[in-house]
Amino acid sequence: MRDDHHLVEYYRSIWESNVALARASCSGPFSGAESCDWYHASWPVLRLLDMVSTPYWHRSFYEFALADSVSVTGSVSDVCVLGAADFSMAELTAEALARVGTTGRITVLDRCPSALRLSRDWAAKSGAGLQTRLFDVTKNEIAEDSQDLVLTDALLTRFDTAGQNAVLALIARSLRSRGRFITTVRDHSWTLGAAALTPHQYAEKAASLANEMGLDHALIQPLALEYAMRMHSFPIEGPHEIEARLGDAGLEVIFMEQAVLPGELRRTAYLRLVAQKSGG
C-alpha cells in the first residue's frame, strides 16, 4: 500500500534527530504525562514504520475535500491547520491545493514547538510558504470569520466531550460564512471484532519492522511502547453523535464517509467529514 517513497526517505533523514528535538523542546502536559515528548519523539518514527494514525492514511479523502472546496468557491485564501501532526498536515494540505492549481495562505497551529519546528523545516526544504503559530486550543483564539478552511486530523478525540465541544465552537467561530471544516475522527461505534495488540506486542512489531528497515530497534522499541501505553482516545460514538455535535456548533455535515483502516493496535473505523458553516 505504501507509495510515499519520497516521504519515507524524508522521515528516515529526520527521525533520529527528531527524538533529541522532542526531548529538548516539547511542552506539555499531554495524555497524563507532564510533557508531550513521548508523543512527538515517537510519532515520526512510527510514521516511518506506518504504525501510527496519520493524515496520509486519508490522503485521497483530503485531496478530494480540498479540491472540491476550491472548485466550489473558486478560490481559497486562508487555510488553518489545527494540530500539525509533525509536518504531514502542512505537506498534505499544500500538495492537495497545488493539485488544483492554488496555494492559499496556510497557517499551522499547534501547542508544541517541536511539531511546529518540523513543519517549518519541511517548508524550508520544499519551498512551500507556511506560517506557524504556537497555539493552545483550550486557551487561545483564532480571529473570527478569518478562515476559508480549517483542517484537523484525528484531533477531536484527544479531548473529552466538553473539550470537543469547545474545539468545535472555536472552529465554527473562525470560519467565514460557507467556510468548511475538514477532519477525520475515529468511529468507536463500529467494532470490527479484531483483537487489539497489547502495548508490548505493538512495541515488538515496531522493533521487528525497524530491524527490517535497518533502523535502531533498541531506540525505537521503548518509544513505541510508551506511545502505545500512553495514547488514549476519547470516544465519539459514531455518525449520529458527530453529526449532532457539529450541528450544535453551527456546522452542517455535507459529507460523511465511513472507512476501515488497519489502525495502530487494531483494525479501526474512521469517519471522514466535511462540514460547512451556515451562510450569513
Partner: protein, 298 residues
C-alpha cells in the same frame, strides 16, 4: 500568498489519476472516472438533461417494486453507485411516508458526486442519516458497518450501474459479497429489445452534455480532445452502446474507448445474478424496457 488560477480539469485524487493513466495505456478509460473530480461537474450537468433521464429512470416501476420489498419495515438503505442522487431522491420522494428509512449508505468509487447526492437524499427523506463508503466495486466488495439490530437492509443498484462497468459479473459478485445473507434489493439494468434500431439505442447519447461528460477524464489527463473525433455507436455483437475518441498520444493516433452501456436479455442477466449469489424473486419490465429485478442475497 496569492490565489492562483484554479485548474479546470482535474482528478478527484492522485490515486484516480494514476489508475486512469494505467487504463489509458490499455486504450480503455472506464466510465467510473467520468463521475469524479472535474468530471463530477460535467456529469451533474448531464444528469439534468432529458436524454439521461430517459435512459436511466423508470421510477414508477422501481417504486412499486421497492414498496413491495420494504413496506412497514425500519430500513437501512444501501445504494451501490448512487451517482448524482437524482434518481434515488425521486424514488424516495415517491415513497415518502411509506418507507421508514433510518439510515442510508451510498457506496461508490468516487466521492465527488456524493455531496450533492447526500443533500438530495436528505431532502427526499428528512431525518435519515446519510453516509458514504468509498469502494471500487469493480475490484472488491465494500466493507460496511453492521446494521442496527432492529432494522432491515434493502439495497439498490439502479441507473444502469451494472450496464456500465467493465465486468458486470465481477461487479455483481462484489456487490453480493458486500451484503449479508437475506438482504433484499432492487437491481435495474437497461433491457435489450428486439426490433429496436441501433439509432434508437444511440440517440439519447448524442448530446453535447454527454460528450463533455464522457471526455472530461481524458481532458483531466491533459489530452487534447477534439469534439469531432468523438463517436457513439451501437455494437450489436456486444449489445452495447460504445463511445470512443481518437486522440494523439506521443505522436501516435489512438482510439480510446471511454464509455460502454450494455443492454441485457433477461435470461442471461439472471444467470449473472445467480452466479453472483443473488436470487431473483421477481422481474418487472418498465415501459422503456428497463429490467427491474427484485433480488435477495443468498
Amino acid at each position: 500568498m496569492g490565489v492562483d488560477a484554479v485548474l479546470e480539469h482535474f482528478f478527484e485524487c492522485s490515486e484516480h489519476l494514476d489508475a486512469a493513466l494505467t487504463a489509458l495505456a490499455a486504450r480503455k478509460v472506464p466510465l467510473k472516472f467520468a463521475y469524479a473530480g472535474s468530471a463530477a461537474r460535467t456529469h451533474s450537468l448531464l444528469a439534468k438533461s432529458a436524454g439521461y433521464q430517459h435512459v436511466n429512470w423508470p421510477i414508477a416501476a422501481e417504486t412499486a417494486a421497492a414498496r413491495e420489498l420494504a413496506l412497514g419495515r425500519k430500513l437501512r438503505l444501501l445504494e451501490f453507485g448512487p451517482g448524482t442522487g437524482h434518481h434515488t431522491a425521486h424514488l424516495l420522494a415517491e415513497l415518502v411516508g411509506q418507507l421508514d428509512t433510518q439510515r442510508y449508505i451510498g457506496i461508490d468509487f468516487a466521492r465527488g458526486l456524493f455531496m450533492g447526492a447526500a443533500r438530495l437524499i436528505r431532502q427526499a427523506a428528512p431525518g435519515v442519516l446519510v453516509t458514504f463508503a468509498c469502494c471500487d466495486l469493480e475490484a472488491e466488495p465494500a466493507l460496511l458497518p453492521d446494521p442496527p439490530q432492529d432494522s432491515f437492509t434493502m439495497f439498490l443498484v439502479l441507473g444502469g450501474l451494472l450496464a456500465n462497468v467493465e465486468s458486470p459479473e465481477r461487479t455483481a459478485q462484489n456487490i453480493r459479497a458486500s451484503l449479508e445473507t437475506g438482504d433484499v434489493g432492487l437491481i435495474s439494468v437497461p433491457g435489450y429489445k428486439d426490433g429496436t434500431s441501433a439509432e434508437d439505442y444511440v440517440a439519447p447519447y448524442r448530446s453535447i452534455s454527454f460528450r463533455n461528460a464522457a471526455l472530461e477524464p481524458l481532458r483531466a489527463m491533459g489530452l487534447k480532445v477534439e469534439d469531432d473525433q468523438f463517436s457513439v455507436q451501437w455494437d450489436d455483437a456486444a449489445r452495447a452502446v460504445v463511445a470512443s475518441i481518437a486522440v494523439n498520444i506521443d505522436g501516435e493516433r489512438q482510439e480510446i474507448q471511454c464509455f460502454t452501456s450494455r443492454r441485457f436479455i433477461p435470461d442471461r442477466f439472471e444467470a449473472v445474478l445467480a452466479a453472483a449469489g443473488l436470487g431473483v424473486s421477481q422481474l418487472s419490465v418498465s415501459g422503456d424496457g428497463t429490467l427491474i429485478w427484485s433480488v435477495f442475497a443468498q
